[in-house]
Symmetry: C2
Subunit: 327 residues, 2 copies
């Protein structure tokens, strides 16, 4: 069986990717420092605890497992934190990724799938965000992800490293079979925060800004079901194994939902009231981030058919009620 090194494999998206990789016949080898990940979520292959910055540990893991590819999810990913502690984001996300990319290249593991973000685009009012849109990130989270995209491009030119870069829009939902789900500490993602508020596990959801230039004043985002998202990663891995060129793909559905629309949909799916209050804007947030690209569908054959808002909320709600991690 072919091993794939999955950094951040104990995190939300990484753990779902491990499930999808196993289903596709690969063995996912999780490499995670468990700072934001959960050991409990590592269910589909071996686990190696380690830091991205630990080059000798990475070298040993590459030597032991001889992975055919790297899927690199490990990152700090909270915009608020990135605004207040930018140095930590630059050091962890960029320096850590550089060390990983150097280790992969040195080991001759030249297929690399990278978890990037639409936050690399920044603020582009009334512009369709496709892969050619200029990247002008607003915060250290987006800027650090863009820097890693640059490093992959540079290592491609210098050493033949091939990469598929996925720029995620908002990821939501959970494994419908309940093996893995979303669990951040602290939780900042809209849908799980909302479900916790619905369930009385936190006081109320705060809407971060109601004066944006959108129909209802709240920010608009494009949501993708995590199972659809990780399917794209398996397709991206096959793209590289087929010998195709390095490529960037947006992963979004092209449909935007405002915060108020997500609140309404959550009330409808759960048949419960969503307690919320209205607060000021959060620094670093763009008004609207919606994908305008069909490249992943056209070139990878990606069909995000689980990415309807009711489905994403229903799967997240099931996980919220039945699933949890410890350790």
């Amino acid at each position: 069986m072919s091993n794939v090194l999955v950094t951040g494999g104990a995190g939300y998206i990484g753990s779902h990717a491990c499930k999808a990789l196993k289903a596709a016949g690969f063995t996912p080898v999780t490499y995670d420092n468990l700072v934001t990940g959960w050991k409990d979520s590592v269910k589909f292959g071996p686990f190696e605890q380690g830091e991205l910055s630990d080059r000798s540990r990475l070298d040993a893991v590459f030597a032991q497992y001889q992975p055919v590819a790297v899927m690199h999810f490990a990152a700090l990913s909270q915009v608020g934190e990135a605004m207040s502690e930018p140095g930590r984001y630059w050091r962890n996300n960029v320096e850590g990724s550089l060390t990983l990319i150097e280790a992969a290249t040195a080991a001759g593991c030249l297929n690399f799938v990278f978890s990037s973000t639409c936050a690399t685009y920044g603020e582009h009012d009334n512009v369709v965000l496709d892969e050619g849109t200029p990247q002008e990130p607003l915060n250290a989270y987006g800027a650090s992800k863009r820097a890693v995209e640059d490093i992959l491009r540079d290592f491609g030119a210098a050493y033949g490293l091939k990469s598929v870069i996925f720029r995620y829009f908002n990821v939501a939902g959970a494994d419908p079979e309940g093996e893995v789900g979303e669990h951040h500490r602290p939780e900042t993602h809209l849908i799980p925060v909302m479900l916790e508020a619905i369930d009385g596990k936190r006081p109320a959801l705060t809407i971060n800004g109601t004066d944006y230039d959108t129909p209802d004043g709240t920010c608009i985002r494009d949501y993708v079901h995590v199972m659809d998202l990780v399917d794209a990663h398996v397709l991206g891995l096959k793209w590289l194994q087929d010998g195709k060129e390095s490529r960037v793909f947006n992963l979004g559905t092209g449909k935007g939902f405002s915060v108020r629309e997500v609140i309404d949909a959550s009330g409808a799916v759960t048949n419960r009231e969503v307690p919320y209050s209205e607060g000021p804007r959060r620094a670093g947030d763009a008004t609207k981030l919606v994908s305008g690209s069909t490249r992943a569908a056209a070139e990878l054959g990606w069909t995000p058919d689980r990415s309807t808002m009711p489905q994403m909320i229903a799967d997240a709600w099931r996980w919220h009620q039945n699933g949890h991690y410890e350790g």
Copy 2:
């Protein structure tokens, strides 16, 4: 007297900046690892040898000199090298700058002048390059400089660090008084390479690409006299000391010269024949990089009146004939 910490103060531009700082009443404190710089060029203030990545050494230097500002020139800056050894560029230029910026912020030294580059813009055919042009760098040199710009923005938002970022076009010429000049090892800049060829100190200049979409087929660049360039830095320092906001300025004259035009001008100024051959394009080079901005003139009062091609070549030629560094 006010101290200014000048990283890379033993390099080409840094040493000229030290001279301009001293003339303006500051004491330049050079911090340089002498990997590409010259100890001989440190003539205008104290010298501290050290690495950007050495946080404890930086902390000691900030504590000792209590600088009012940092001017950060230290960087690897050769496009060819950046293409073949991108990891070195990312680690030195970005990780090193991050450590410096963290040290400055921790020391409460919140005025920062940064040496960036028009290479951060990348390839924009038939577009006027001003400070609002999207930055799409083509290589690890430009990308690493852009990343440092991002870090400065992020530290501004988080900690109140104020920065003036200068995006240089091509820098040329030398101190007309002959105290400092340009000396790289290896030399890759067009004008000094050409002067060495004229003088028989190297076989012949190679033109990197004669099939660009320009009138004579060679790349077009905008040249600034190093003395004008460093004057802008002193103006930028005063801008920050006046309490003004962080700002980005292009430093170019708006006039473009092709490689062939520079060759012709050099022949005329030196009254010698320029031996050259025509070679293929060099990876990572943009077709045309000319500033379309008047912001530095309008807002800083910058007047680059020494930046005529004959003056730049004449000053470089005088340095070539009379000046040199050892050690």
